[in-house]
């Protein structure tokens, strides 16, 4: 969680410096992704939103690789095609992120169905923001998960905000998001997503249900989007500027640290040391990644790759278009 927080801070700074075009922080919500990453198995598949970078960090995915994606540079495995933070890391069980809200939630169910069809015990976990639960994909995910009893964890991250809209606009005023599951006959939990230990316990429970083929579980994670929606957003236009300071439910990092301190397993000094160590390694990674190029210095992925991966093989009309591009004066 600490690493995720500091990674976010650094990337925010990079965005401000023009090294990338856009950034999304997960401040305050780190426990959810990190808890999933550590509790799900190596062959399970996570269908994240753009606010689940904590998974990659917790799985010790090379930070330089993540940053190269952010900088769209020549080492970016996605060839500069995707907006920053839209990682894809199959080997880490991290599905390619879509800019379209909700779409991946039902795909997680399809993946889980496929695993079940194949007699495989791997499971899937989908993530959706409370705002995006209004999309069709949420309903489809629950319907298909219920009908086929798919081995999937359906996570609703209720961080209270969807850009400028409070959760009530998504229907959170008249019922909880956990309650949505009732109508489909899917067991559901509503969990304090800022309590790392609660996250671990709930994920384990749902994971075991899925692994034993007892079917899907929906978990509503109550948390709070402490930062702006993204670097394109100015929350002062729609919520009190200092609302975040009240940290509804408390900063998950502080809460875990003070729990450990109370138990005598951790100290403020250790926390400081950890943070300064992590800061150093984040800085080192950033330097290394910047060395491969950023949007600022223009060392971005080549344009030739534009035409690759539209299809498995480049069809004639795309070859003609690529030639046209390359022969431009």
């Amino acid at each position: 969680m600490v690493t995720t927080r500091l990674y976010d801070d650094r990337m925010l700074k990079s965005q401000r410096q023009g090294k990338t075009s856009f950034y999304v922080r997960s401040t305050g919500e780190e426990a959810i992704a990190v808890g999933h990453a550590l509790e799900l198995g190596p062959r399970d598949m996570f269908f994240p939103t753009y606010r689940q970078q904590g998974w990659l960090i917790a799985r010790e995915w090379p930070m330089v690789d993540m940053m190269c994606q952010i900088f769209s540079n020549e080492m970016d495995r996605l060839h500069g095609r995707q907006m920053p933070v839209m990682y894809s890391a199959k080997a880490a069980g991290f599905f390619t992120i879509s800019g379209n809200l909700g779409t991946q939630f039902v795909q997680a169910v399809g993946w889980a169905m496929a695993a079940a069809i194949s007699g495989d015990t791997a499971i899937a976990a989908g993530v959706i923001g409370e705002g995006a639960t209004a999309e069709a994909d949420f309903h489809h995910a629950l319907t298909f998960a219920a009908t086929y009893q798919a081995p999937v964890i359906l996570n609703v991250v209720n961080n209270q905000w969807a850009i400028s809209s409070f959760q009530g606009i998504a229907g959170g005023g008249s019922a909880t998001f956990a309650a949505r599951a009732i109508g489909y006959g899917i067991p559901a939990l509503r969990v304090d997503g800022n309590d790392y230990l609660a996250v671990v316990a709930a994920v384990r429970w749902a994971r075991e249900r899925a692994r034993r083929n007892d079917g899907p579980t929906l978990i509503e994670w109550v948390t709070y989007r402490a930062s702006a929606h993204s670097t394109s957003d100015d929350p002062s236009k729609y919520r009190p500027v200092d609302e975040w300071k009240a940290w509804p439910l408390g900063d998950p990092i502080d809460r875990l640290a003070s729990h450990l301190e109370t138990r005598g397993d951790w100290s403020a000094e250790q926390q400081d040391a950890l943070e300064s160590d992590v800061k150093k390694s984040v800085r080192a990674a950033a330097k290394e990644a910047e060395g491969f190029g950023t949007l600022l210095d223009g060392h971005v992925a080549g344009r030739r790759s534009l035409f690759e991966d539209v299809f498995k093989e480049i069809p004639p009309h795309l070859r003609r278009q690529r030639d046209e591009m390359e022969n431009l004066p």
Binding site: Q107, I117, D137, V310, K312
Partner: protein, 337 residues
């Protein structure tokens, strides 16, 4: 070889692929136990079990959505959309997801789906059982679009589509399920089982995607058609006595441009026929391409004969359907110039 109707040929393709490849799964509304409203999956659940051939909730968006997830896992899903008119709720998953998965993940994840759907009118289905939305798919980069016109091609192209690692939209002209339809509703159709093109091998074979087929050689004018319209073009050529070269495109994307250019350079004239509405239909792309590539060979403007820019009507469907009279008129027009 067995005499097969087009829906039986499609079922045979699915049967072969379910048998050969454990990754193939077939599903959709009424597809499992019942065998599909057009019977294209009849008997497959009994043969391969409800785990691989199954009914789904009525949610086209959900059907394509889970198919994308299954494809990412490593299966080869072959979902059915009951009528092409009902694909729209699934378009977001097709356009934003299936078509983009390979690109946005640097080929880490792919969506090797084949989405089957019956299209076209002529069955008194009115505006919600008659549409031909193929043009929409061809505008989406990352999707391939296929439309067969014979049982033989249907089977071979469907197998090729299922084996293809990209998402393929497989459009079945429902007016051809039982027999070739030439656009004369008052005349009996010859069932495929009595027709030479209804001879279909029982075993696995493929017809490659991206390759057109010349259905009639001719010197006067090139007709570009696909699906049901191939037979309408044949009827129009026969009735008008114009020596038309009729090309059945079979795959709309990727398009067999070479076949088109070769023919139009020879004939110097071109008529395009489809059942979909005219404006921004696939005929627009074809006409634009032909004039780009064959401009100096053209003796007359490329003509489009298409469905009108109105919804498909119920009672007046034969006024809507671009039948042999309209195609014949277009042939005469281009020949007159």
């Amino acid at each position: 070889m067995t005499a097969m109707t087009m829906n039986v040929a499609i079922r045979s393709a699915l049967d072969n692929m379910l048998e050969r490849d454990r990754q193939v799964v077939v599903f959709g509304e009424d597809v499992g136990f019942f065998g599909g409203v057009f019977r294209c999956t009849d008997g497959l659940q009994a043969k391969y079990g409800a785990t691989r051939v199954f009914d789904t909730p009525i949610a086209e968006g959900g059907i394509i959505g889970v198919a994308v997830g299954m494809g990412a896992y490593g299966l080869r899903p072959v979902p059915e959309i009951q009528f092409a008119d009902y694909v729209y709720p699934g378009l977001d998953q097709l356009i934003s997801e299936a078509a983009r998965l390979r690109y946005r993940s640097g080929a880490e994840f792919t969506a090797p789906l084949t989405v089957r759907m019956p299209s076209g009118g002529g069955i008194h289905g009115g505006q919600t059982h008659s549409q031909s939305p193929e043009a929409l798919f061809t505008h989406v980069c990352g999707l391939k679009t296929v439309i067969p016109s014979t049982p033989y091609d249907a089977k071979g192209l469907l197998i090729a589509a299922v084996e293809d690692d990209d998402p393929v939209i497989f459009i079945e002209p429902k007016r051809l399920y039982n027999g070739p339809f030439d656009g004369h509703p008052d005349r009996p159709i010859v069932p495929w089982t009595d027709h030479p093109m209804g001879d279909v091998p029982d075993d696995y074979y493929t017809v490659p995607l991206g390759v057109a087929s010349v259905r009639r050689y001719g010197a006067d004018v090139t007709v570009l058609a696909y699906g049901t319209m191939v037979y309408v073009a044949e009827a129009a050529a026969a009735e008008s006595g114009i020596d038309a070269e009729i090309i059945d495109l079979r795959t709309l994307l990727p398009l067999d441009t070479d076949a088109i250019v070769g023919s139009v350079e020879k004939t110097g004239r071109c008529v395009i026929v489809h059942e979909a509405t005219r404006t921004s239909g696939y005929g627009a792309e074809l006409a634009a391409t032909v004039q780009e590539l064959c401009f100096y060979h053209l003796e007359a403007p490329v003509q489009r004969v298409t469905g009108w820019d109105t919804p498909y009507p119920h009672a007046q469907e034969w006024d809507y359907f671009p039948g042999p009279a309209r195609v014949g008129a277009a042939l005469r027009t281009v020949m007159a110039e």
